[in-house]
Symmetry: D2
Subunit: 138 residues, 4 copies
């Protein structure tokens, strides 16, 4: 399926050696993967800066006893159904919930959704994790 | 349910004013929440540096056509069942999958799990998003 | 000289206790300073996102034996004299130089200057550290 | 002077194309440099996690009218002369100073120095920027 090209680069020998040791330490199977991973990470950062569509996750932690909190989170999510693929909910302990929204859409819209959720009273944590749709990231 | 105390701090008047404008811009409902959110963010960073248990998410994007990839990811996840609460899987398009693992456990173990998954050939993206169990984060 | 106001916030008692322990661990002298520091950090991030003027540093490491490198760095810096307050240069060892540019100006212009310097062949490291002019940050 | 090796990697053609466009956008002169820069950035992060010696900068902004502030900063710096290469000081405006400490030493010691400085009352900003000595980073 894939469509590979050889890319040949000149590297200082000592830099190549240190890179090889780092590859071994992390368990990365090949140099090609290690280089491609670094390239992809830089491209994902760029997609969030000026791309049309990204994916990611909004991660929230809250005490479900907080009055009205669940309802507010649900209403905001329903206004953003076009951005949210699904919501996963975990009962971490008697009090605390972990809720993970899988999201896809324009980076600015997702950032705005995150900001709206983060403004809800009673949340202990609300962060946005940046990923990619993979569509333009081979 | 909650157990509130008043905390009174001295702030430069102009700093307080700028903070209030920023609170309004982001839609945060009260100063108390805005201050508590900043405190919690700093404590979550600290939990990942020296805490016993955290929660979070591992976010992966890959082309499901890649031979053997699904199996490798599944095997690594089965060796870490004590860290993984659940896995959520999305078909982003004909080729690309978004997979989000909700995780909970010691920060070093979660970091190691992320490193193992990230080393799998064929992944386009594999990042770790840090959150909290909320248990010691009121 | 300063112009203080009292800001009183309601915090969960356990959150306030954890914050106090963190304040003690880091050696921060008062709660007021700890809160103000968190607020200022969030405002500095915002200044870089949408402010008019910021300060900061561009940090470069390079081997001074690299042919033409010093000249190229100097030419780029001379085209940006309005952004660069001064350049500090250190001979780290026989080969390596550390060069720190103190910068002040519009955040986009500083980011562009950093990008131009980072593109110079022979640099081992070129990063941009974000700070503030302090003018609107009491 | 340098001691180059060819490193040849297999990349998906579309990934290589996107990387080339990104290289052109940023003005990076060659693929070899772009790849080496990504590798070096990952190695600098690793040096700060488990290395013996790094370099960097501590960046502070403060109002020089704040009573006793200059003296406290100076005393802390004198206790850390083995870590501080030099201090550069700028009068940003009538009130605000930008002070940049060039630092070199074990990453934990530099982090501790930064923490001590950050705890000083009256600072508006105190951040630590991570770089490298370049000695083991060709």
């Amino acid at each position: 399926m894939s469509n590979l090209v050889r890319m040949s680069v000149s590297l200082d020998r000592d830099l190549a050696d240190r890179f090889d040791r780092e590859i071994e330490r992390t368990g990365c199977p090949t140099r090609s993967k290690a280089v491609a991973d670094l390239i992809r990470q830089s491209l994902v950062r760029q997609e969030w800066a000026d791309g049309d569509e990204v994916s990611g996750a909004v991660i929230m932690v809250y005490d479900h006893h907080t009055r009205g909190l669940g309802g507010r989170l649900t209403r905001i999510q329903h206004d953003a159904v076009h951005l949210i693929l699904a919501t996963q909910h975990f009962h971490l302990d008697h009090d605390n919930c972990l809720e993970i929204l899988a999201v896809k859409g324009p980076p600015r819209d997702i950032a705005r959704l995150h900001e709206k959720l983060a403004a809800v009273k009673g949340l202990k944590h609300c962060s946005l994790a940046a990923a990619t749709t993979g569509r333009e990231l081979p």
